[in-house]
């Protein structure tokens, strides 16, 4: 019988998948970074936002966090936008929270697996983008209404749409691939 790994393990596979996930998120973010949401302060349409959430579901919270955090940093570095630590942490939290159900996955294709992942996608986005948006109050001096309307709402809505739709698609594809890997 396959032993369940600890949710918080960070061995060689987690190191590698963190690096790959971050690089993947960064490159795919850069490729889609040209699409800016009108009216939002500093967010863009990023279908790649599903990547940290998927990697969290597949490999655990630490992999999800590093994929989101470092992937955001890489994407912004490649695009020449600089470094915005509070938004990178927000992206990391999206992957972190979805990773909390990684140990409960069975075949990544069943309805219950997908439902658990979707619930955590919502939690992760609300917490991650909420924290990042509210941090603008501290950094830029905006008030809560502005942070919510101009930062949180556009970011959360687009991330929810792409996350809720693309994450299950990636999970189903991963379910088929996983049986080949033998891990």
């Amino acid at each position: 019988m396959e032993e369940k790994k600890s949710l918080w393990a960070f061995g060689t596979p987690e190191v590698v998948y963190s690096g790959i996930g971050a690089a993947l998120y960064g490159v795919l973010s850069w490729a889609t970074n040209l699409l800016q949401i009108p009216g939002a302060a500093n967010v863009s349409v990023r279908p790649a936002v599903a990547i940290p959430m998927f990697f969290g579901v597949a490999y655990g919270p630490w992999v999800g966090f590093i994929t989101g955090f470092l992937g955001t940093v890489i994407g912004d570095l490649i695009s020449g936008y600089g470094f915005w630590p509070w938004w990178a942490i927000g992206s990391g939290l999206m992957g972190f929270f979805t990773g909390l159900v990684a140990n409960q996955m069975t075949d990544y294709k069943s309805g219950s697996d997908i439902l658990k992942a979707e619930v955590m996608v919502i939690v992760g986005i609300v917490v991650g983008m909420g924290l990042a948006s509210l941090s603008e109050m501290w950094v830029s001096g905006v008030d809560m209404n502005t942070a919510i309307v101009f930062n949180f709402v556009p970011a959360a809505i687009t991330n929810l749409i792409w996350g809720l739709i693309l994450t299950p698609i990636l999970m189903v594809a991963y379910g088929a691939v996983k049986s080949r890997s033998g891990r």
């Binding site: 690089a23 279908p47 790649a48 490649i78 698609i169 990636l170």
Partner: protein
Amino acid sequence: MLVTWSYRVRNSLMEKIDPRARWIFSLLFLFSITLFWDLRILLFFFVLAFSWYFSARTTWRETRRGWLFILLILFSMVVVNVIITSGGTAGIVDQEGQHPIWGFIITLPITGWIINFTLTIERVWFALAQIVRILSISAVFLIIPYSMDPRLYGFTFHGLGLPDRFAYSMDLAFRYVPTLARDFITTLDAQKARGYEIERVEGGLIRQIRRIAPLIVPVTMGSILTGEDVINAMDLRCFGLQKRTWVTITTYHWYDYALIIFSVLLLLGSLFLRYVLDIGSFWIPTWILPS
């Protein structure tokens, strides 16, 4: 299409400084400047930030895109937030006794909502403080990708206290970027040969997802399968059993220590000014106010 880092060797003053010291300075600068709304103090940070920025010897052409992005943020935050909605001044600027410059009252048709807008001297001055603050923070963080060798990120964060495995993940990620970019282009070309049109990712949401999924899913699964080989290779080399060494390392010099000490003093001094002497809250010169 190549994915390249913004960094190139410039033999600048900033490149001589250890990346760890530079990160410490950047982060402590951020914490220090966010304590103040007094424009006089913010101008000090502004001069410090841009002195730091120009020590990297970048050109406008290189950083133009980043600055345009920042100016877009500034416009939406300052003009819309502070000047039109007055959001952001609440809690920092006293709402009572402000001095109006211009205003209007309009009633929206159909809904009957009344919009009562007043632009005050205090709002404009706060907007100015906000601009100076955001530009200063932007200068310090925007310059990082242009002035820091990507090969040093892993070692740098290891030196800042991150566990070895996390730091190695960062190293791996930076090394993987060109490989994954190449795989992305290969997949894109293969899909294009099958009639896929990335230039026409338009239409409704479902249509956009149907167009983007054939690109993202194969690239993701391909990279996961590639990762299996890397894991096997690392396990065969006993990765993680002992404390690892790094191929590229940096060493501190006296000026790195000087920068770190300066950064710590900057933060401590800021905390002292703000919380002990109560200096640094929103300030507006009396000569600007009507008598």
